[in-house]
Symmetry: C2
Subunit: 402 residues, 2 copies
C-alpha cells in the first residue's frame, strides 16, 4: 500500500492520511483524498471480484480485505424508455443503489471507511445517523468484528431503531441538539479511539467513486451528459464526481458528466446558497420534507459542493414534496420502489425539462439511493387501490371488469 | 428462438410450451421445461450484461428483452469465516438474494415467467401470493407494461398490501379458502387470457437456474458440497438443482451439489413426508411459523422435491422458530439482515452439524431468499438493546463504559 495525502477542499492545506482528519483546522472545510492520476480497471470476471478488487488501482492506499466486504456495489443501471419518452429525453437511466447489502448507497462508503479504520489499526468505529448510514455502519462493523457505536436522536421511533439494533452495535440515543452531535462525535472519537465514519469523511467519500466507475463500464464508457444525485451532507455527489474525474485521468472517458445537485424544497441549503449567489451555505431554517434521508439543514460538505459544481458548470435544483411523491409513483410504475429521497432526482429532471433547462436530447443518469422499504410512511401519500371480492365470484368479477 | 417441450415430473408426459401448462392432466404433478443439454456462458463484462444475456444459451427458447429486466441477479456470494469456524465447517457461503430489484429471489423467476408470457403474446399476467412474489410480479408487470393481477388474502394487513399496491397492479383481496386460490387462479387465467406466474409454474422455475449458474462462476466452478434452500412451494430448490444439472451437462462442473430442503417445523410437509417415508406429501395441519414466507401447507411441487432429492441423496431438515430467530441474529452479526424464512438454511446447517449429519469438512452455500425489511414484526423476537444518554454527558459515558 502506498501512502496518500489529504487536502483541504478550500485552502488546499495538506494533511496526512495516517491519522483521522475530517475538517481543515484552518478553514473548517471538508478534506478530500488526493485524486488518482492514473489507473487501470482490474479486468476479470466481475462475479469473482469485489468492487475493491476490480478498482484497486484507484484505491492504492487501502487494504483489500475479504472479511470486510458484504458484496456491495455492482448494482444495476436500469434504462427507462417509458419515462424518457414521457419527458422527451434521449436516454434515461437509474442507478439502483437499493441493491446494496443494506439497501442503500451508504455501503460503498462504509466499506472504504472501515478499510481505512482497519489500516490505521482502529478496533472501534462509529457514526451519527438517523437512517441508512446507521444501518450500514452497524452491518459492516459487525462483519469486520469492530466495536461499533451508533449515535441516534433520542426521539427516534422503534421502527427505525430496530433495523440498526439487530446488528448489535452500541446504539446510543442522545438527548440534546442533534445538529451538534456530528461535531461532538468527532471529538469523542479522538478521545476514545473511535473512527467516526460520518457522512462526508474523506474515506467514506472515496467509496462513492465506485458508483461512477460502474456507470462508465455499464454504458461501455459512453457516459451520460448529466448525473443527478439527491444531496444531503454532500459526500455522495462529491465522491461520484471524483470517480468520473479519475476515470478521465485514466483515459477511460473524455469528459466528466455535468453533476446535478438535487434537493427537497423543504430542506435545500445548497440550492438556496447557489441561487442566492452566496459563497457559503447557511443553516436551513425549519427543515421539513418527506425526503427525510436528505433532510440535512447544514450539510458539512455543502460549501464544497457549491464550489465544485460552480467551477464545473453543475446544476442545482430543488423540488417540492408533491413533486417527490409523484416521481416516486412514476418510478414504481417502472418497477422501481425507492424511498422519497431517491425520487428527488427524477422530480428534478422533470422540473428542469419543464423549465427548458434540459433541451430534451440529453442522456441522463439518476442515482436511486435507498429502498422504498426504508420509509413505509410514504405509502400513505399515495392513493393506493385494492378491490374486495369473494372467491366464488372472482371469475365473473374478472371477466366483467377487465 | 427454438421450440421447447415440457415434461411431467412424474409420468414424463410431454406438453407443448406454446400454451400455458402448469400441472399434468394425467397425474396432477408439476411440469418442467426440458433440461438444456449443452450451452456456453456468454463471456463478456457482467456489468454490461443482464442474466438473460450472459446465460442465454440456457434459455434458447426465451426472447431477450431489455424492457423487461430490472437488473435482477448477479447477487453477492458472501463468505462467512466467522460462522464457519463456529460451526466447524470448511467453507460457508451465503447467496444474498436480498440484493435483487424487489429484494427477494422471486425476481429471477418472475423475469423468465414474464418473458414467456410476452413470447406467447399475453397482455395480462397475474399471481397468487402473500408476500415476495406479489411484490415481484407487480413490479415486473409494471415495467413490462402488462396488465397485472395480484390475488391476496382478504385479511392481509395494510403494511403488506402497500408495497404491492405502489406498483399499481389490479390488487384483489379475495375472501374464501386461500388454499384453493392457487388452482382457482389457473382456471381464471385460462378463461381470461391471464398468464399466472405462480410459485412453481415451469417458466418461473427456469429463472432460478441462474442462481446456480452464478454460484458456479462465483466459486470459479469449485462448487459447494451442499446447497441449502428454504423450501415452500418447491419451485426455487427445483430450479437451482436444475441449474447445476445443466452446468454439469455443459461441462462446467463434474457433479451436482447435494441439495438440502430446509423447512420450518411449524410448516414442514415435505420434510415430514420424507421422514414418514411417504411417496406423497399431505396437507400440513395448522401451519404456524415465524418464517411466513415459506408457510405453504400443501406445496404444489412438494412431491417432485421429494422424488428428486430422494433420487439424488438430498437431505431434508426442519427447524423450530426459536432456532430460526437465533440464526437470524447470527446472520445479522455477520452483517446480513434477512427475513426469518431466509435464516432457515443456517439454522438447518447448525442442526445437521449438531446431529453429526454434517461432518464438518464440508463446503456449504445457503440461499438467503429475502430482505429482513420485509417482515419487521420479527424484530420483536429479538432482545434489541439501546442506551439513553444526554449530549453533554456523552463523552464521559463512552470513556467510562467502553
Amino acid at each position: 500500500m502506498i501512502d496518500v495525502k489529504l487536502f483541504c477542499t478550500k485552502c488546499n492545506k495538506e494533511f496526512s492520511a495516517n491519522q483521522v482528519h475530517i475538517i481543515c483546522d484552518v478553514c473548517n472545510e471538508a478534506l478530500e483524498v488526493e485524486t488518482v492520476k492514473q489507473g487501470k480497471i482490474c479486468e476479470g470476471n466481475v462475479l469473482e471480484q469485489s468492487i475493491m478488487e476490480r478498482y484497486k488501482a484507484f484505491f492504492p492506499w487501502l487494504p483489500i480485505d475479504h472479511e470486510t466486504s458484504l458484496g456491495e456495489g455492482f448494482t444495476a443501471l436500469v434504462e427507462s424508455k417509458k419515462i424518457a419518452k414521457e419527458l422527451g429525453l434521449d436516454k434515461l437511466y437509474f442507478k439502483n443503489e437499493t441493491q446494496n447489502p443494506t439497501w442503500s448507497f451508504k455501503d460503498r462508503g462504509t466499506l472504504t471507511g472501515v478499510l481505512h479504520a482497519i489500516k490505521l489499526g482502529y478496533k472501534k468505529i462509529g457514526t451519527v445517523s438517523t437512517g441508512n448510514m446507521a444501518v450500514s455502519v452497524a452491518a459492516y462493523g459487525s462483519k469486520a468484528n469492530l466495536e461499533t457505536f451508533v449515535f441516534v436522536n433520542k426521539s427516534m421511533a422503534a421502527e427505525k431503531l430496530n433495523p440498526i439494533a439487530i446488528y448489535d452495535p452500541h446504539l446510543i440515543k442522545v438527548e440534546g441538539d442533534y445538529g451538534n452531535l456530528y461535531y461532538k462525535s468527532l471529538e469523542i472519537g479522538k478521545e476514545n479511539d473511535i473512527y467516526f465514519i460520518n457522512s462526508d469523511v474523506p474515506f467514506r467519500v472515496e467509496g462513492y467513486k465506485t458508483l461512477a466507475y460502474e456507470i462508465c463500464e455499464q454504458l461501455n464508457f459512453e457516459i451520460p451528459d448529466y448525473v443527478v444525485v439527491p444531496t444531503s451532507a454532500g459526500g455522495n455527489i462529491r465522491g461520484i464526481e471524483k470517480g468520473f474525474e479519475e476515470f478521465k485521468n485514466a483515459g477511460y472517458i473524455d469528459q466528466v458528466p455535468t453533476m446535478i445537485c438535487a434537493q427537497a424544497s423543504g430542506c435545500s441549503p445548497i440550492d438556496k446558497a447557489y441561487h442566492d449567489e452566496e459563497e457559503n451555505i447557511t443553516r436551513f431554517e425549519n427543515p421539513h420534507t418527506i425526503a427525510h434521508a436528505i433532510e440535512n439543514a447544514f450539510p458539512p460538505s455543502g460549501n464544497q459542493v457549491l464550489r465544485k459544481l460552480r467551477q464545473k458548470g453543475g446544476l442545482f435544483v430543488s423540488v417540492t414534496d408533491e413533486e417527490i411523491v409523484k416521481a416516486q409513483a412514476m418510478l414504481a410504475k417502472e418497477g422501481l420502489l425507492v424511498q422519497p429521497a431517491s425520487a428527488v432526482p427524477l422530480a428534478a429532471v422533470k422540473k428542469l425539462r419543464e423549465e427548458k433547462k434540459l433541451k430534451g436530447n440529453e442522456k441522463i443518469a439518476c442515482v436511486l439511493t435507498g429502498s422504498g422499504l426504508k420509509y413505509t410512511a410514504a405509502f400513505e401519500k399515495h392513493d393506493l387501490k385494492s378491490t374486495d371480492c369473494k372467491l366464488e365470484e372472482l371469475s365473473t368479477f374478472i371477466t366483467k371488469n377487465y
